[in-house]
């Protein structure tokens, strides 16, 4: 029931990123809050800001103000609800989370009280749920201790930013606790607010929350007993729903709006967050990058090339304007270090279109010789961040990661995280376990309608599948920041000793515009290193893989015969069908073969037209004469993204 007459903003709300304690994803909560007419909503997951990015995105889409916060776990186990007012509050909250997580086993947190006292600026402190230091003392009837705890918080956060938190979930004793909290608030002249300590968007999600609780406690629902919440009142409620619970104190609801008004912080990052690459004296990043490229240009194009010079000047200008010279230097340095250790390493993807990347040895491909498109990587029109992914011999990737940590400092580097969701199998196993059923029982085919338990379990599995279960270390996505990382983003220790991970995954980092560097492990590169060593040991001691040219006809004969088992990129069955028809005879043909077997051309049904043209069955035509230059290489079909970029370029001429 929507109630527009009692204004209320929920300031204490858990999402599924309170792992195994929240049953709704941030966007579900935002949708519900917007439907209830809330102007704002706070997200306060346990010791994490993992939900922040999807939460902000959803809130902006629904036009409600997202308040970022966290319920921190203190040393000793008590809870406090912290809300971010401004940028300094964000920095402090990030640091508090890192401190709390660093001092406890994985999945737990324990923030020392004196650390909290050092980072109170820009934050609002709500005194917490029943496990808050104030409410817990009142429940033990230790009023002196409750008052001391409230005074302690007030003296650190300030009179205006310390708020007594009052909850009422229709449990025995809630009314009495609320009266004592209100007396204390009056006595200390502190604002008091109602919150509902939300753990799911709708009342109907109580079963899912109970299942999550039992999974977290590693027990069955029956055995969990009183550790499950005694009723289903922890859903997102409107002001109208809460009003009867606080009938004598309607200001508890309206005060939530006063608190929300103080929390104006917007999550935002600039591009220029990377550590500064130490350039030699007299050079800034732009200048040093230009110098490195100019030197390399002379080596790569010994006779000089007007086209290369023009392209270089153009790329350097675009890179400088995008303020990315520093980024290039950092990547260049990583590649250089890897090579000096004999670790195979190269850029992948659209960076190959950049002459600068080629000159810096980030990409092994000469984009001019292969007619590749720089704009696919970076252009004025596409303000998206460029992505330089480095493939590194898998067995030695960790060395490169260690180098980056050493170079920029442990405090300035962290890996992105990944969230694994329950997925179908774990959901089935866990639901069966908490319900004391066997998963075979749940898997038995048949009509669920005649078996309510099975129908219920199937529905719970469906709801559970998409929820995050674990936070892990991403395989190579690395975030570097100029300011200490823990002041910019929330981090926590990874399972690997000494390693920290950002509480955001790759997509979230991209969404807030933080540049990450992907150091991906590629086993094929390790295999090449091994193969090279084998050739040296058995056939040719002077063999150098990097000096092989790309025009050996015997190689193309093997490829054309689809003799490609174990050959990277052209070993799939789909490739094996295409190659004999396409009969690649040069490197450019291989590029076409690889770009054909991709979702775009396959779905766009471009494969067969291209092959028919290639085999001379169909004449080569162009949709428009102006497209001839762009599409000549692919015989008139638009089968790759770089062709499309060319296509657009042609049209503008």
């Amino acid at each position: 029931m929507t109630d527009w007459t009692t204004p209320y903003v929920e300031l204490h709300c858990h999402s599924a990123y309170s792992l195994c304690d929240g049953a709704s994803l941030p966007d579900e909560l935002v949708d519900r809050a917007a439907d209830l007419g809330m102007q704002a909503l706070a997200l306060t997951d346990h010791d994490t800001l993992s939900g922040a990015v999807p939460f902000v995105r959803a809130a902006e889409a629904r036009g409600i103000h997202p308040i970022l916060g966290t319920e921190v776990t203190m040393v000793g186990g008590s809870h406090l609800t912290l809300l971010v007012r401004d940028a300094s509050g964000w920095q402090n909250l990030c640091q508090l989370i890192s401190h709390g997580q660093a001092r406890a086993p994985k999945g737990e947190a324990a923030l020392p009280w004196d650390t909290l006292a050092e980072h109170t600026g820009g934050l609002i402190c709500l005194t917490g749920c029943r496990r808050g230091p104030v409410a817990a003392a009142i429940q033990r009837l230790d009023m002196g201790r409750a008052e001391r705890a409230a005074r302690w918080l007030r003296d650190r956060f300030g009179q205006d930013h310390t708020v007594i938190e009052v909850q009422h979930h229709l449990h025995p004793g809630d009314g009495l606790l609320a009266r004592h909290l209100l007396d204390l608030a009056a006595h200390l002249r502190l604002t008091a607010v109602a919150t509902n300590n939300v753990h799911y968007a709708r009342r109907e999600q109580q079963p899912l929350h109970d299942v999550l609780t039992a999974i977290r406690l590693r027990t069955s629902l029956d055995a969990a007993g009183s550790r499950l919440r005694a009723n289903s009142e922890y859903y997102l409620k409107s002001g109208g729903r809460l009003r009867p619970l606080f009938a004598d104190h309607p200001e508890l609801l309206t005060n939530t709006l006063r608190v929300a008004e103080q929390c104006g912080y917007r999550l935002a990052y600039g591009l220029q967050d990377l550590p500064r690459f130490p350039t030699p004296p007299g050079y800034d990043a732009d200048g040093y990058l230009a110098r490195l490229c100019a030197d390399a240009l002379r080596c790569r194009y010994p006779g000089g090339s007007e086209r290369a010079c023009r392209q270089l000047a153009y790329e350097l200008r675009v890179i400088a304007e995008a303020q990315l010279s520093n980024y290039f230097l950092i990547v260049w340095d990583i590649v250089r270090e890897a090579r000096s250790r004999g670790i195979r390493c190269q850029g992948r993807g659209s960076a190959a279109g950049s002459l600068v990347a080629y000159l810096l040895d980030i990409s092994p491909i000469d984009p001019l010789a292969h007619d590749l498109v720089f704009e696919r990587f970076l252009s004025h029109e596409r303000p998206a961040l460029p992505d330089i992914d480095l493939d590194i011999a898998a067995d030695r990737r960790e060395e490169v990661i260690q180098y980056v940590f050493r170079t920029y400092g442990e405090a300035h580097a962290a890996m992105a995280c990944t969230f694994s969701t329950f997925g179908k199998r774990a959901a089935l196993r866990d639901v069966a376990r908490v319900l004391d059923l066997t998963s075979e029982h749940l898997l038995t085919p048949g009509d669920h309608a005649d078996d309510p338990t099975r129908a219920l379990a199937a529905e719970l599995c469906r709801q559970l599948e998409a929820l995050p279960r674990h936070l892990g270390q991403h395989n190579g996505g690395m975030l570097l920041t100029r300011a200490p990382l823990a002041t910019r983003v929330p981090v926590e220790p990874a399972a690997m000793p000494g390693r920290v991970v950002v509480q955001w995954d790759k997509t979230m980092l991209e969404e807030v515009g933080l540049v990450k560097i992907d150091l991906l492990g590629l086993r094929m590169l390790s295999a090449l290193t091994e193969a090279e060593a084998l050739v040296r040991a058995t056939a040719d001691p002077a063999f150098d893989l990097d000096r092989l040219t790309l025009d050996d006809p015997q190689i193309y004969q093997m490829i054309a015969a689809a003799d490609t088992i174990g050959v990277f990129q052209v070993e799939s069955r789909a490739q094996a069908q295409v190659l004999p028809k396409l009969k690649p005879a040069c490197f450019a043909d291989l590029m076409v073969a690889i770009s054909l077997i991709r979702p775009g051309p396959l779905q766009g049904e471009m494969v067969h037209p291209y092959l028919r043209r290639r085999m001379g069955i169909e004449p080569v035509t162009y949709a428009h004469p102006r497209l001839k230059r762009a599409l000549a290489e692919t015989l008139g079909s638009s089968c790759s993204r770089s062709r499309c970029s060319r296509w657009r370029g042609t049209w503008r001429v």
């Binding site: 004793g173 809630d174 009495l176 005694a230 289903s232 319900l435």
Partner: protein
Amino acid sequence: MTRFWPHGLPIEVTCDALATPVAVSIQGRRLPVARVVERWRVDEGWWRRRAWREYFQVITAGGQLLLLYHDVRSGLWRLQRLYD
């Protein structure tokens, strides 16, 4: 002496518009409710037999303290405890 009915003693209850008891009838004796001391809600056990009950601790006009509950699913009222 406190009396306790583990499965509840069936009673009749009259409520106001907010579903709060105003009078309790125990074995034909009607006792007006002077004050609701406390109320709480239990909603649990959905995976076997859902227990969904509204509990009320009330003081009658005669000064007796009672604990009663409304079983929401069956609509029945029960007396759980009578404090002397």
